[in-house]
Symmetry: C2
Subunit: 415 residues, 2 copies
C-alpha cells in the first residue's frame, strides 16, 4: 500500500529553509507511484503532537508558487524549539507521534532542522522501528551557524554569510567617510561556532584591503587587553577600523566576554542590564581609546535576509530536500543528507548521507589552525573554505517594490 | 575663459549620494566647451578649507566605472559635519574658500548634502557674490531622512525606505515561526521626522495584512500607557506583533521616550547607560506584558544598503546631479535642485529649483493628518505618497559573491 510523506521544519529560521521544504514537497509529488499525499506538520514536532497537520501538495497552483516558496525566508510551516524527552521519560509523547503517523498513513518523514532537530528525528526513528512501524526518517540539515558535523557545510549558512559580507562592506563604506579616527564593531551570531563571523572576511576576495581589519571568534580565547592593543595598532595605520566579533567570544576563564560588563544594576523596570559583546567592546573602546565608536548587531536580519540569498546555497538547499526524498525511496532511514566537498576551485560537492545518531548533539567548530595565532583574524584556508558558499546572485520575485513571500493556508487541517 | 567645476559631498551617507556625484561629474564632462576640469573636494567643505582637492574627471576609464560609482554606498569623496560660522564670525575661513576657488579657477560649485549643507552652500554663495567672485553654487539634495522642504522628496530616502520595508518583511517572517505570543520592535532612524519609519508600512502594498501592526512616529505624541494597550490589543488578535518605531518619538512633555529609562547609573567603565527607544520599549513590553520580546536597530545599514537601491531613487539621484550642472550652465546660482510631484499613479515628477535660502535649516516633517488619530499607524495618503519612491530593482555589480564598490584615488592632490 502506498504511504504518505510528512515534512516539518524546526529550529531557528534561515533564508533557505523553505527551499529545502520546496525540494521535499516537489520531489515527493514527483513519485505518485510510491508516495500518496504530502503532508506538512505546522510548527515541527509540536504540530505532530498537537495534530496540526495540513496537506501541502495541493497548495501549489503553478511552478511559480514553488519558486516563491524557495525565496521566502523563515519557516513557512512554522517552527518549534520543542526538546523531546527520551522515550522512557515521555512515553505518551512518542505514542502520540506514532498514532499520528498511523492516522495519516505516514511512511516517510522528512525533518528539516539543526542539531537538536536531528536528535529528535533520531529518537522518533528509533521508537518507530522498535514498535514495528515502518517509517523512513530522513533529516535535512539547516542552520545558519554551520555547526553540524560530518557535512561539509549547512544549508542556510551560505546566504547568511553573503548577507554578513555584503553588510560589512556597506557598513565599512559608511564608517569611512569622516576624516577622524573611528571604530565600528559588528556583533554577529554564533554562540559557540564562529563560522558566521568568519564570513565577514569574504570581502577580501575582492582583492583589496577591505574591512573588517579584526575578526574575533569563539574558537580563540578573547583577551580584552589584547583587543585594546589590536585596535590601537590598527588605528595607527588607518582612520577607520571595522571589527567583526562573534556574540560568543569568551575570556580565558571560559566566561562570555560581555559578562564582565554586567554590573548587577537594574534599570527603571527592575531588569538587569544585559548587553551583548558589541556594546561591551564599544564601551571598552570608548573607555580605553576614547575615539568615536559605534556597535551594531546584525540580529535576526542575518538569518532572514532572503533578498540576498546565495545562489549556491539556494540550489544546494533545494537539492538537499530532493535528496532526502530520493533516499527515503531507496529505503534509507535514520540518516541526514550531508554535503561532501570534492574541490574548492572549481567548487564541487557530492550529496551523501550521515547516520542521524552521529550528527545529533555534536557541534562542529572552526579548527583553531584556521585562525591566526593572535586570535584576531582568519587564515587563508578558512577564506578558501568559505568563499564558494556565497557565490551567485538570485533574482527574487518582487511586487510593488518589496519581495513577495509564499504562505501556506494552515487553517485547513488534514482529515 | 573656461571655468572649472568643483563637487563635494557632505553629511550622513546614503545609498545613492554617489549616484548624484556621478550625475554631476558625468554631466560636467559633457560640456567641454564651457567646463574645463572637474574637481572633487575630499571631505566636503573641510577639504576645500584644507586644500585636499583632487581631479575626478580623469579617474573614470570606462562607462562601467561610472556605473560602479552609482552603486557604491556612502560618500566616495568622503564627507564632513563641518558647520560653517557666519562670515563675520569666521572671515578667515571664507577667505580661504575664496582663495581655493580662485586657485583652481572654480566657476561652478555643486554641493551634495542635506539641511546643514544647503546652509553652508548658501553662505558660500553669498560670500562669493559679495566679493565679486562669479561662482555659481547649486545644491543637490541628499538625505535618508527626507526632511528637506520644498522638494517633494529627497534622493537617498527611497532606497532607505525600500531597505526598511524589505527588512521588516523578513524580520516579521522570522518572528512568526513559533507558536507563542511575541513582540518584535524595530528602531528606525529619524530624530525629528518619521518618514523612514513610516516606510515600514510599504509592505501593505502587497495587499495582505503584513507587519508592522503598529507604527510610532515623532510627529505624534508618544504615550507609554497607550503603547502597552496597543500591544495588548494586537496580541489578542495574533501571535506575533511587529512594531516600527522612530528613534525620535517623544512624550507629551517633549522629552525623548527613551530618556525615561535612563537611570543615571553607570556601568563597569563608569559610563552612563544609554539605550535607544527600541530597548526602552522592549523593557516596557517585558515588564508590563511579559511575553517574549526582541528589539533591533536597523542602524547604519538602512542608509548604506546600496545592494537594495530603489531603481526610482537611483535614477532620480543621478538626474538631480545632472540637473545641477544644467542649472549652473544656464546661469543659475544659490539654488537647490528639487522634485515636484506631478502625479502618484502613474508616478511622474518634474525637476525644479528652490532658493538655497529657503531650504537651509528648515525641517520638513510628516503632516499630522497623514497619521491616524491614535498616533499608532499611518494613513492611506502617506502610503500613497511613499509607494512610488521604492519602485524598481537594480542589478548591482558583484564579484566573488559580494558587491563591487568604486573608490577614488584621493592621494593625488590637484596642482
Amino acid at each position: 500500500m502506498k504511504k504518505n510523506l510528512l515534512v516539518a521544519q524546526s529550529g531557528g529560521p534561515t533564508a533557505v529553509i523553505n527551499a529545502s521544504l520546496c525540494g521535499v514537497i516537489r520531489e515527493g509529488m514527483r513519485h505518485p507511484e510510491e508516495i500518496g499525499m504530502v503532508y506538512g506538520a505546522v510548527n515541527g514536532i509540536q504540530g505532530i503532537l498537537e495534530g496540526t497537520i495540513i496537506r501541502v501538495d495541493d497548495q501549489f497552483e503553478t511552478a511559480a508558487d514553488f519558486e516563491l516558496l524557495c525565496h521566502t525566508p523563515s519557516s513557512a510551516l512554522g517552527s518549534c524549539r520543542y526538546k523531546m524527552p527520551s522515550p522512557d521519560k515521555g512515553p505518551e509523547q512518542y505514542a502520540k507521534i506514532l498514532a499520528m503517523f498511523r492516522k495519516y498513513n505516514i511512511g516517510y518523514f522528512a525533518y528539516i532542522g539543526g542539531n537538536d532537530s536531528m536528535d529528535t528525528a533520531n529518537k522518533i526513528a528509533d521508537y518507530c522501528y522498535e514498535h514495528g512501524e515502518e517509517v523512513r526518517v530522513v533529516g535535512v540539515p539547516k542552520t545558519i551557524d554551520n555547526d553540524l558535523p560530518i557535512t561539509d557545510h549547512c544549508p542556510g549558512f551560505g546566504s547568511a554569510a553573503k548577507y554578513i559580507a555584503t553588510t560589512l562592506m556597506e557598513v565599512a563604506a559608511d564608517a569611512e567617510v569622516y576624516p577622524m579616527k573611528s571604530v565600528v564593531i559588528a556583533e554577529i551570531m554564533g554562540r559557540n561556532a564562529g563560522w558566521l563571523t568568519a564570513a565577514a572576511s569574504l570581502t577580501r576576495e575582492l582583492g583589496g584591503s577591505y574591512a573588517p581589519q579584526l575578526i574575533y571568534l569563539p574558537e580563540a580565547v578573547f583577551d580584552p587587553e589584547q583587543f585594546v592593543e589590536d585596535v590601537r595598532r590598527e588605528l595607527d595605520k588607518r582612520d577607520t577600523v571595522v571589527i567583526a566579533v562573534s556574540e560568543g567570544v569568551r575570556l580565558a576563564d571560559g566566561s562570555y566576554a560581555a559578562e564582565s560588563m554586567q554590573s548587577g544594576q537594574v534599570d527603571a523596570f527592575g531588569h538587569k542590564y544585559l548587553a551583548g559583546v558589541g556594546k561591551y567592546l564599544e564601551r571598552l573602546t570608548a573607555d580605553r581609546i576614547g575615539c568615536k565608536v559605534r556597535s551594531l548587531e546584525l540580529s535576526v536580519m542575518q538569518r532572514a535576509a532572503a533578498h540576498l540569498q546565495s545562489a549556491t546555497d539556494l540550489e544546494e538547499a533545494v537539492r538537499a530536500g530532493e535528496k532526502a526524498v530520493e533516499a527515503m525511496l531507496r529505503g534509507d532511514t535514520r540518516i541526514m543528507i550531508a554535503y561532501r566537498r570534492i574541490s574548492d576551485a572549481p567548487y564541487r560537492i557530492a550529496y551523501e548521507t550521515a547516520p542521524l545518531g552521529e550528527v545529533a548533539n555534536v557541534e562542529h567548530k572552526i579548527p583553531r589552525k584556521w585562525i591566526n595565532e593572535a586570535g584576531n583574524d582568519v587564515r587563508e584556508e578558512l577564506v578558501r573554505y568559505l568563499a564558494p558558499l556565497i557565490q551567485g546572485e538570485v533574482s527574487i520575485p518582487m511586487k510593488n517594490g518589496v519581495p513577495m513571500h509564499f504562505s501556506f493556508d494552515k487553517t485547513r487541517l488534514a482529515d
